[in-house]
């Protein structure tokens, strides 16, 4: 068959079985698969993207179950342990294996500098336990309980140290994950909505309207965004309650990403109109709605998802930057940026380097989204190569 080479060339990326019948099965599978199946098969081949997906899934679990996963309430103050360094988890003592435990803490005051130094007290072993009773909370905001995934019965455990008020940094980071991600998601939704509408108008009407909108987008893109958004955030009234600030900041962040998306939507609309299969559907007598939703949208959607996953990091970074300098979210709301406010200067970094821990989460989230975005971009057009 003359087309055999063509098919196998096209299937180059697709796993090919050694035997002929299997190869034919694979071909049949390939040709009968839905578009999203094809995208998924191709996406799976991108190793980094899979790792990224796994990390994001982990973040999602953290965001949903923060109360349960965190050993402490984020506002619970441990007055004995202000600015306490992280406690290491140990498994061995004198060469024998134990269940995971941390050591107790003793304090010593330096008689000259009056600085409090913290030492592990190796005579006290505090075993870590699963499903311990701790601070009360409501799971999903409904079920009252006080069971935490892990914790200790006596003493305390601060895996990432504690902050200036003695609050457990690890617990706070888990709660911050929820807020930071939710800002990203809502911001993305706003950007998506704006981009779709403005880009849609631009691509659908074309001509003068298109021209005006495109020049406007160029104009917006030539303004250094972060200073502008900082200026907008700074004009929020100081006496607003935290929740209102949260929504305002989300809105501002959401205004960050729409230009990119609008361009993409417009470009795709313009090129799709000329596609053969759209013309074919038109000749076959399909209605406009059917063409848009049945034929154009599926090939369109994957690109939009790609763009969304690529702009997500910018949302997170925008929030982090704003909160970091004190223009964004404000305590008692906890986000990664709010936590990093404590690590603004060299002094803090030199004395309490563990306050830096949220950075790792920010970087991890951004990297994960970039990887997933890359994988999706390669997979978005499963018919290529």
């Amino acid at each position: 068959m003359a087309s055999a080479t063509g098919v196998s060339g096209r299937l180059g990326w697709f796993r090919r079985a050694p035997q002929d019948t299997d190869a034919r099965d694979a071909e049949i599978k390939y040709y009968t698969a839905s578009q999203f199946q094809l995208i998924w098969w191709k996406f799976k081949r991108h190793r980094l993207a899979l790792i990224g997906t796994f990390i994001l899934a982990l973040f999602l679990v953290i965001a949903v179950l923060a109360e349960f996963l965190a050993p402490y309430d984020p506002f619970n103050r441990n007055a004995e342990y202000l600015f306490g360094p992280p406690q290491a988890i140990h498994f061995f003592e004198d060469g024998t294996l134990h269940a995971p435990f941390v050591y107790g803490i003793t304090f010593a005051m330096d008689p000259v500098s009056f600085q409090l130094s913290v030492k592990e007290d190796t005579s006290v072993r505090i075993p870590l336990q699963l499903f311990v009773h701790g601070d009360a909370y409501k799971l999903f905001g409904i079920f009252p309980t006080d069971i935490h995934l892990f914790g200790v019965e006596k003493g305390f455990v601060h895996l990432m140290g504690s902050d200036k008020l003695g609050r457990d940094l690890f617990s706070r980071i888990l709660f911050a994950t929820r807020i930071s991600l939710s800002i990203g998601v809502i911001g993305l939704f706003i950007a998506f909505f704006l981009g779709l509408i403005i880009g849609g108008i631009s691509g659908f009407f074309g001509g003068a309207i298109d021209n005006v909108i495109q020049r406007f987008i160029e104009f917006i893109r030539s303004i250094p965004t972060l200073p502008l958004w900082m200026a907008l955030a700074a004009s929020l009234p100081k006496e607003w309650p935290p929740l209102q600030v949260y929504f305002a900041i989300t809105l501002i962040i959401g205004l960050l990403g729409w230009t990119h998306l609008a361009r993409r939507v417009r470009g795709k609309l313009l090129s799709l109109r000329e596609e053969d299969y759209v013309t074919a559907a038109k000749i076959a007598g399909s209605s406009d709605w059917r063409i848009i939703f049945r034929h154009m949208l599926p090939s369109f959607l994957s690109y939009i998802i790609v763009d969304l996953s690529i702009s997500f990091p910018y949302m997170i970074l925008g929030e982090t930057a704003l909160s970091f300098i004190g223009l964004g979210l404000r305590p008692p709301v906890i986000s990664w940026g709010v936590l990093l406010q404590d690590a603004q200067n060299v002094r803090a970094i030199a004395l309490y380097p563990w306050l830096f821990a949220p950075v790792a989460f920010v970087v991890l989230a951004v990297l994960a989204f970039s990887f997933v975005g890359d994988g999706l971009r390669d997979a978005a057009d499963p018919y290529s190569r």
């Binding site: 303004i223 250094p224 200073p227 900082m230 200026a231 004190g326 223009l327 030199a350 920010v362």
Partner: protein, 331 residues
């Protein structure tokens, strides 16, 4: 060429006009006006202020006029007299507050651009010529990190490393003995010694992006027929590379200078704040936190003007490099 320049220049003016309106909006946005704030300040020092007094103040300061009149007088003062208004928190003219600091910001942006292209172009060429080598993978990986870590966090990390590993402090733009010293050659050298740190921090993301672009275009170009033809005629490899594929590959790089500059300026205030640079960054943040709207507005205007003028200049550069742009073909 003249037509192209004129066209670009007009676009630049229109953009600057639009920009001034946006900046004016951010100035007007905070609730309450200057009179309210003045009244609040007087009340807090124990002076009795009545509603009529506020109205009187508002009238005196012209705040009761419609917004377009206020906008025109604000922008007119800036354009005609270079008067950006009075800083509300420091009670001196904004121009005095900003002073020579804006020079440092421009210098920093310029240094970052030099760094970005000085590093990205050679590495991009190298990566394309030695595709899939260890060096190529190394720079690709570095590029991922560079794009993922926001510049202000990178600045923090660098501070951390310099304090703990090298026992020094990379903050600031001068060594202590030069901070107050008058300008001299030694001071300038000292400045250059400090400048590379913020330039590196600010430029890393852009560098990563440009390396990718350079590598991709070079990979496209290096196997084209015109390169083979030149090679067949016995042209030395080094000259061949620079004369043909690199020249073509520079095109997309140069055309993104404007965006790059915008990104650099956008990241600059935060990095300057973290590294405690004596430029406009910390000033801008403090002005925002104090709601010192005239100061922050002036700086927002200056930042954006810097990027718009920078874009204009990169357009000229592109026209010099690429005759298709010069002779009015649409790009």
């Amino acid at each position: 060429m003249a037509r192209f320049l004129l066209q670009r220049f007009v676009i630049m003016l229109v953009m600057l006009a639009g920009l001034s309106i946006i900046v004016f909006i951010t100035i007007e946005l905070p609730p309450g006006d200057f009179a309210d704030r003045q009244a609040y300040r007087m009340k807090s020092t124990g002076v009795r202020v009545t509603e009529a007094d506020i109205l009187q103040m508002r009238h005196q300061m012209g705040l009761d006029r419609p917004w377009y009149e206020r906008y025109l007088s604000w922008i007119g003062n800036i354009v005609l007299r270079g008067n950006f208004g009075i800083s509300l928190s420091q009670h001196i003219p904004v121009t005095e507050v900003i002073g020579e600091r804006i020079g440092f910001t421009a210098l920093l942006a310029f240094a970052t651009l030099i760094f970005t292209y000085g590093v990205a172009i050679p590495i991009g060429i190298f990566s394309a010529m030695r595709q899939y080598s260890f060096g190529d993978y190394f720079f690709t990986f570095l590029g991922y990190i560079g794009m993922a870590v926001p510049s202000f966090l990178l600045a923090l990390l660098l501070l951390y490393v310099s304090v703990f590993v090298f026992n020094s402090n990379v903050g600031g733009l001068f060594s202590p003995q030069y901070v107050e010293a008058p300008w001299s050659w030694d001071k300038f050298v000292d400045l250059l010694n400090h400048l590379w740190v913020p330039a590196l921090v600010l430029g890393l993301a852009g560098t990563a992006f440009e390396i990718r672009t350079m590598r991709a275009t070079m990979l496209d170009e290096k196997n084209k027929l015109y390169v083979t033809a030149a090679r067949a005629r016995g042209m030395p490899e080094g000259r061949l590379l620079l004369k043909y594929p690199v020249r073509v590959a520079l095109n997309p790089i140069v055309s993104t200078i404007g965006w790059n500059l915008t990104a650099i300026i956008a990241g600059a205030p935060l990095v300057a704040f973290v590294l405690a640079l004596p430029d406009t960054g910390p000033l801008f943040l403090n002005a925002l936190l104090d709601q010192d709207v005239y100061l922050s507005g002036a700086m927002l205007l200056l930042y954006s003007t810097l990027t718009i003028v920078g874009t204009f200049m990169s357009d000229i550069l592109l026209a010099l490099l690429d005759p298709r742009v010069r002779y009015g073909e649409r790009t």
